[in-house]
Amino acid sequence: MLTKMIPEIGHFALVIALLMAFFQAVMPLAGAATRRPLWMAFARPMAAGQFLFVAVAYLCLTTSYMLDDFSVATVANNSNSMLPWYYKFSAVWGNHEGSVLLWSLILAGWTFAVSRFSRNLPEDMISRVLGVMGMVSSGFLLFVLVTSNPFERLLPVIPQDGADLNPLLQDFGLIIHPPMLYMGYVGFSVVFAFAIAALLGGRLDAAWTRWARPWTNIAWAFLTVGIALGSWWAYYELGWGGWWFWDPVENASLLPWLAGTALLHSLAVTEKRGSFKSWTVLLAILTFSLSLLGTFLVRSGVLTSVHAFANDPSRGLFILALLGVTVGLSLLVFALRAPRVSHTVAFSWVSRDALLLVNNILLVIMTVTVLLGTVYPLLLDALGLGKISVGPPYFNALFVPLTVILCVFMGLGPSARWKHMSARELFRRLGLASLAALIIGMFVPLAYGGEWNLWVSLGLVAALWIVLPMVRDLFEKIRRAGSLGDGLRKLSLAYWGMVLGHLGVAVTIIGVAVVSNYNVERNVRLAPGDSVQVAGYTFTMNELQSRRGPNYLSDMAFIEVSRDGSSRSFTMVPEKRLYIARGMPMTQVALRPGLFRDLYVAMGEDLGDGAWAMRIQYKPFVRWLWLGALLMAAGGVMAVIDRRYRLKRHQQVPLPASSTREVPV
């Protein structure tokens, strides 16, 4: 009896969560404005309660999937009794309704975490932060309940079995990619809430940036991993061997990442030097708005892709309204509250401050170019001016040169001093390293198969330009400390985080440059007994077999691969699967991964007479793409572990009266 009621329990829990989110939004904000401690005290318990009830709702939905309750519409449409349990678990977010519920769950989770780990914050600050997050939460829970109720029933005609999860989503990648990405997307709501709270409280000093920085870093690290996972998933699951398509949905995740990267650096400047205050607040608003825009693009059905499950216009309209209200309100608060006379902190044009400013401008320009290319076709379509698509050439033409320019400044930044330094000093520090970067970068590609390629060289120079000055800087620091042990102990984790993050960028750039230019792809016709040579490897098809999986039928090819001149060989087994419930074919790629090259074999079509079209690829350094992303994320996390963020009492930096205005709201 009770198990039959699970969806109703979930639905009910969601309603309670919405009410709590509403109280969490209204009471603390009103309390902070009128200085009533009792009202402000609503913030933490409501945050906890909201998290609890959203979690209950989520658990109920998961249980419905696990118990194959096909009377629930989302379960019937996206699951099947033959589906393995772990895919039932991940099928919860493999559709529109479930994924917005996951969004809400993660938002409630972040809110709860903020309420738990911010014990040292002034009461009015934490009230405002949780209040703002409560507003976002209310909006999303309302969205779930009004337009995308995951607990909707198919009564009285209950289907015998479910329509199954889209086979493309039946994969390990889907189990981890969306939660990671959402952790990043939603995580930016924390820094957004801090920024708005700082504006509301008139407390626009360096203190809020210190509180907000760890949260921003963690969200950014999650987003980085999420994007990398998405790219990795597309690489092996779609069967084309591409790792980035400039698909609008990919761009939707890249946009907040770019803005978030700018935000990380701008927060650093604000915390260290007290400058860029308004700019940082604006970036925080921009980053979260882009997260919402991404959610709108993906969830509204204006785009058609593997991610876009929904095609209900009311949903798109709702998120668009949510986006409009959020952006409008926050910009209004910004306009009213941003310090009119912010005290200027002087710095010269050769200084770390200036270089970080350039970094910010470049990252924002990159964001805008990607945004334009993504939204322009949608705008034209909405205005009835024709259907166009903006292809990868546009993005490559703008993104690649901008990245190279960014790299130039990334190389300079870490070696520069705050506030002021002479250009001569900077040159002394960097001259040798940059010369070495140029020479090594130009000549190393020659050693690689003797094929010199401008773009590979450029990529290598850029990567070395980033890495070598950091290495030099490290040596310098250790030398100055006297001994190696002392030197290493003196370096803060924040410093190591920066080094690791930048190293990650360099590694990714090398991966992109090499795999884009030295990639070998051949589409061939192979029958048992045939063999073909690709990039120094011989691929021989030995036999074809059929088998039956839990919910699919499969044709498999056994392909023996040996490196030319080597007697050792191994077998790769690509598959073509037919998923029974949907009658949908799927390519299962065979991969032979390696640090320096991947071998990639995918089955194309049955050409008759036992012959198959095969896509065989040799992808050098492709792993470096994702390795770099992992390094970046690790850097972001490492910087958070730094001791200064865990000090029991945060010191408030006294600031000139001009920027700290106590204004009752």
Partner: protein, 172 residues
């Protein structure tokens, strides 16, 4: 105007002009790199440019797919049930490419009205119809229910036929 304000004015003017240049360049890059979509009717009417990258879409005509047995060359016809366009492609077609389904083709039109495709796009989901194709079909006088009928009446794809018994119709 105080000197400080003057300085600020210059900074703002500089930023604005920089932004204007950036936007201008971006729009230029956009113009050079956008692919317009054309339906078979529009192509037959000669509206589509010759030897420039375009996107075209329609349903793959039943029985029109023919493969060269010795290579990966393939020919098929896309149609909006009014006009037809012959497409040449060399390579591996996507998993969900089937006769009687909507596809989008990216390629160049030659003088004789054939489309040489660099890319054939099917969808990620077997129920999905590319929105451009759906609208092209509607423009050709077919409502979405019409082509859904055409699509459903098309015999359930050869090999999948024997499993269609396990497919649950109620859930769709």
């Amino acid at each position: 105007m105080t000197p400080k304000r003057k300085q600020r004015l210059f900074v703002i003017l500089g930023l604005v002009s920089l932004a204007a240049i950036a936007v201008g360049l971006t729009l230029y890059a956009l113009r050079a790199n956008i692919n317009l979509f054309f339906s078979p009717i529009q192509i037959a009417a000669g509206e589509a440019p010759i030897e420039r990258q375009i996107r075209a879409g329609g349903m793959v005509k039943e029985g029109s797919v023919s493969r060269n047995p010795d290579s990966l060359d393939v020919e098929f016809v896309i149609t909006d049930f009014v006009e037809e366009v012959e497409v040449h492609y060399s390579g591996i077609l996507p998993d969900l490419f089937r006769e009687g389904q909507g596809v989008v083709v990216v390629g160049q039109l030659s003088e004789n009205g054939r489309l040489h495709a660099d890319q054939v796009l099917a969808k990620h989901d077997e129920n999905y119809m590319p929105s451009e194709v759906a609208e092209a079909l509607e423009a050709a006088g077919y409502s979405s229910s019409d082509y859904a009928e055409k699509y459903n009446s098309a015999d359930k794809y050869d090999s999948a036929d024997e499993y269609s018994g396990t497919k649950n119709e109620g859930a769709d």
